[in-house]
Structure formats: C-alpha cells, structure tokens
Symmetry: C2
Subunit: 373 residues, 2 copies
C-alpha cells in the first residue's frame, strides 16, 4: 500500500478505562491490553493501521510519562523521538497541539496530522485506510477533518456529528466528504433515537485529520494561552532545554478536549469537514460492551476473554469471563454475570452493573486500596 508522504499520525494513548477494572489498571490502561484475543493490544493494532498509511517513521504516540516504558515495550519499532510524554494529563488538545507544533518544526507547516485514539476497535483496515486517505485530501484543502462513524444504535455513550453540505464539487478527490454542521455532546436516549431517525448524524470517534498550520492558526485564535505555552515547549523540544521548558509550561496548560477547543468553534464558521467511515468501529466502554464484541463459547452465550478451556459452566447463560490466570473458573447457575479473574483481584458483578464498576474503583480508592487500582 502506498504511503501518504506528507501525513503524520498521532496516537494519544491516555485514559484509565476504570469501567474495565481490574483488567484495566493505572499501570496498564486499556490501550495496553488485548481485549479481543487478537494477538495484539489495542495500541499495537492502532499503530499498525497507521504505520501502513503514514510509514513507520511518521507515527507518534502521546502518553503519560509513566506509560512511556510499556508503550516502547509494546512498540519497539516506534521512533523514540516521536514519543510525546506528558508529565500530567492535560486532555487531548494539549497533546495534539504539541505533536503538531513539534512535527511542523521538523517537517514543515503544511504536513497533515491525523489523531487517532489508542483504544478503539476497527475491524476493516482497508476501509479505514480509504477513509483516512480521503480525509487527508480534505485536510489539504484546509479543513479540520473528522471521520464520522455510522451510528448503528441510539448510543448515549458517544457524541454525534451532524452533516452539513457536500464538498464533492469543491474537492473532487474527496467525493464523500461533507462539511460538519454541528458537533453534539452525548445525548440522552430519546435524543439519540431522534438523531438516528433523521439519518443526519454520525458518531464522533474523536478522529481528526488536518494541516499543522490550519490547526495551529485555529489554536492561536481560540486558545491563545494554550497556543503560547505549546509554542514555547515546541521551540525547546528538540534542544537541551526541553525538560526545563516543559516543567515551566506544561502544568499551566488548560485541560480541554480537542472537540471543545477547536472542532466546535471552527465548525460554526464552516471550517470542519467529515468523511463518513464505514469500517466496523467500536469503543470498549465497559464489560457489557466488551461482551458484545466477543464470540459465544457455548450455545448459552458464554463469552470468554482468555483460555475458554478453563471455564466450566453448568446451567449458566450470558456470562462474560475474563481469565488472566491458570485457574479454572466454575460457574453454576450463574446468569448474565461478569467474572474477572486476575492475579491479585477477582471481580464479580452482574452485567447490568457494568457502568458502576467505575464507582467501585472510586470506593476502593476511598478505602485506601489504591494498590488494587
């Protein structure tokens, strides 16, 4: 597959995934885990998809300092100067801006940057590549370009993107592209259902592709303080002053998502475009959504992540077992439950309580058992 020469991919690898505890831990966030038993962690899959488009040397990862080690272990092929280590989390705008500013200084203002979260599931790499190629065409034309995901259910877990007008005439090389009329936040169930009925909305997966100069100009306008701090850091990045400037500037950077800081205000003046992607996408939010992505091991809908031979079930249906140990897991008369067996923690909960695993981790922190998180 032909590489896109002027394209650089950033993988922001953050987020703890506390709804997936105790699989997901502070020391091993969900992007470091192989949730589909595919032989690759979510991060490794994301890297491979993007390296196939941008080339090995054109893929960067932004992550917390404490995860740099594990990231390099999982991605030995990653060029080390393409790691953007964040001393503390400052949400997505900071890390995307930093990568854009540094890569622009290295490779020129007009390179195209694409940002793709490290923990998403994409089933069809070919269709994904096609969407990214088209998004790069739109980005070159000056748009901040997102890839809109086909909304297959009235989910309240994702934000939505509303279609504007077609850009097919303006950008002949991007026949399926549209402007974005509006970004909307996670809706309630009724609103989500209404969105689906119109056929005018797609899911926002937080994928953004844009020219570095377009992004940096938008930032300078919408978030001048953030832009100034990032610029100072970027100037020092490839010099011996990096650490001292980072330690002066980073903590003071505004913590704000890219959607709010750039995509929303820019969309109001027609500066954001969307390419509709159709490649089988999902985000593993909790054990219930994980269960939906795994194959059934029995005719009673038993889902197993790990060695299914170690799960012995009797009169049990609809369970999801995550087995990280050699231990046998025996289920007797247990329906629709989550059982997660790790070396130091065992979790049992009904699938209906999936979302509340997050509150469980908060309670555990409160009880002084941070060692388990």
């Amino acid at each position: 597959m032909k590489l896109i020469d002027d394209f650089y991919a950033l993988i922001p690898a953050g987020g703890s995934g506390s709804r997936l505890w105790p699989v997901s831990r502070k020391s091993r966030p969900k992007f470091l885990y192989d949730f589909l038993d595919s032989g690759q962690t979510l991060l490794q899959s994301t890297y491979d998809r993007l390296a196939g488009l941008a080339g090995e040397g054109h893929v960067a990862v932004g992550t917390g300092v404490k995860h740099v080690g594990p990231v390099l272990e999982q991605l030995p092929q990653l060029v080390e100067e393409n790691i953007f280590a964040e001393p503390v989390g400052r949400d997505s705008t900071a890390v995307i801006a930093l990568a854009a500013a540094v890569l622009a200084r290295r490779h020129g203002d007009e390179i195209v940057i694409g940002s793709f979260a490290a923990d998403q599931i994409i089933r069809d790499r070919h269709a994904f590549a096609g969407s990214v190629r088209e998004a790069v065409e739109v980005a070159r034309a000056g748009y901040v370009t997102t890839i809109g995901i086909a909304a297959s259910r009235p989910s309240t877990a994702f934000g939505y993107i509303r279609y504007g007008h077609s850009l097919a005439d303006e950008i002949p090389s991007a026949p399926s592209s549209y402007t974005v009329r509006q970004f909307v936040e996670k809706p309630d169930a009724q609103t989500a259902q209404a969105y689906l009925m119109t056929g005018e909305y797609r899911w926002n997966a937080g994928m953004f592709v844009m020219r570095a100069d377009v992004l940096l100009n938008a930032l300078a306008e919408f978030r001048p303080d953030l832009f100034a701090r990032i610029s100072r850091i970027a100037d020092a990045w490839d010099t011996p002053e990096r650490d001292s400037v980072v330690s002066q500037q980073w903590e003071g950077i505004e913590k704000i998502a890219f959607d709010y800081a750039v995509a929303e205000p820019l969309s109001e003046r027609g500066g954001v475009a969307m390419v509709p992607g159709g490649f089988g996408w999902d985000d593993i939010g909790d054990f219930n959504s994980l269960a939906a992505l795994l194959p059934s091991r029995t005719n009673r809908n038993l889902k197993v992540l790990g060695d299914a031979d170690n799960v012995i079930s009797r009169d049990s249906a609809g369970d999801i077992v995550v087995s990280e140990t050699e231990r046998a897991v025996a289920l007797l008369g247990v329906d629709d439950m989550i059982v997660v067996d790790t070396d130091d923690v065992l979790l049992v909960a009904p699938r209906a309580r999936s979302q509340e695993v997050k509150q469980m981790t908060a309670q555990i922190a409160k009880e002084g058992r941070e060692d388990l998180l």
Copy 2:
C-alpha cells in the same frame, strides 16, 4: 476434667464433602479444613473434645490410606497404633467394627467404644462431655447408645430418632436416658415438620457409644460375614500378617452404614438407648449451611471464611465468600451468591444452588478435569 478409664473414642474420618468443592477436595476432605476460622480443623476439634474425655492414648482415627499422612500431620499427638487405615471405603460399620475388635483384643471385651464423625461442629464442649459421660453409663448397662440432637428446624438433611421409654429408673446414673423406639431416615419436609410438632424426635448425628462385646455380638448376629472378616483382620492386626490379611479380607466386606447394620435392627428389640444432647451441633452440608454458621461481616449479611479485609463489597447482600488466596475479592451488586477463591479453582454460584455443587463436581469429572476435584 476426669478421664473415663474404660472409654475409647473412634473418629471415622471419611466422606469427600463434594457439596463443599472446591474447598473440600479428594486430597483434602472437609474434616481436614478449618471451616469456622477457629484455628483448628474439624478433625482437630473432634480429637480435642474426645481426648479430654478418653485421654490421648484412647483416641483412634479410622480413615482412608491416602489420608493417613494428612491426619498425622494435623494430629501429631495421635498414637500411631490407633490409626485404622482403610484401603478402600467400606462405610461406617466396617471401620467401627474393626476398631472395636482390635481395641477389645488389646484392652478387654468390656471397654466402651464411642464413635464420633470427624466433620461435625460442636459449640459447647462441656455439655458434649456431659452427654458422652451419661452415654458411657448407659453403654455399660449393655445398650448401644446414641446421642440425640435437638431438632431445631424441619431439616430434610438428617435422619431422626424417636423416643422410647425412660431408662432413669433402670440406670440411676443416666437420668435423662431413654430407649430408642425407632430410627427414621431423612424425611421429606412435610414429615420433618410433623416430627418437630410431636416433640418426640431428635436428629441422628451418627454418634454411637457401646461396649465392645455388645457391638461385636450384635454384628455376629446381624452381619455374620462382615463379623467374620473383621475378626480375621483383628486377629492379625497387631502381628506381621496384618497387611496380607487386610488385603485378603477388606475388599469383600459389605459396604453398609452402622445405622442400618446394627442400630436399626437392635432398636426393634429395645437394645438401643439415647441420651439427648444439648450442645449446639451442626453438620456443614453445603455452602448455604456454612454461611449460617459464620458471623456477618457487614450489616448486609456478608459472610467471609478467610481474610475479610480482602473482600470489598458494594451494593451486595447475603453473599458468602471463601477466600483461600491473597487475592482481593470485589463484589458489585451481587446478592446471595457463593464465591470460592482457591489457588487453582474459582467457583461462583447462587446460594440457592448450594446442593447442586455436587452435580457440578460430577460434570467436572465427566469432562476429564479430575485434577480439579
């Protein structure tokens, strides 16, 4: 406390306790386990209770050959010649008869033998001692004497003993003793309830106290073949021929419970007596009955066997957790469940399914995972 000189106690230590799997295993039957977190296994408690009455040298244990090692490990004070190792299980009559025959040859025909299962819970040792002392008095008078347990609920898990007439006049030293009119097998719930209403029935805990000669004469009459085989083995027991005679005779011994072989037929002619015991008794049949014996760790009736600090519960009520590992057990929104965490097996089941754990072990055997049993 004064020892009873002519009294010898036998502890039949058998039974796999498969309803308590995976705590109870083939290699570690329930009598080898400390189910009440008391610091003593059931076997050790049973031994201590009886050694306090009979004296260290007067306590014997009958158990399967493969459990002799673990038994001696738990009871280093046990006199080794008082171990009766059974090559294969032949139910209670064989082992009681063997112990009686051997001990009679060693210490005389008129010694009193008491048989007490290794896996029962007794809360009040003083009251137990009183009942045994009274039973020994009745045994000396020539009765096969059982200790009847106060039936506190219409249990269908135990056999029942029906009162006959008082023996207070006949045996002044045993004022609360009665003859047994009838032994009845485990009843259905309705029958059990009817028994309770009459006040005429007590539970049969399988405790039997009798003179060796009385027992051996009854056996010779009711089970002549079994008696003959046991006699041959007993003659050889304390000689170099023990092993060869055991291997000739043991396998052919009839497999029959003491209740059927001796107590029932003898009771029909008035030869069996009962002393009513009131010492807080229970038999741990399954995880549900185990839960009933443990204290609550929360105001939501959480029962924990093991380190309760390792159990973190949220919105969960009525669970029983058996924790044999250092692992934390996190319960979220889980009600009335059994969670057993061992080194190699994890069991999850509703408490309502407690009895079916036995069928689960049968399925596991069928699936070729005997290593887990």
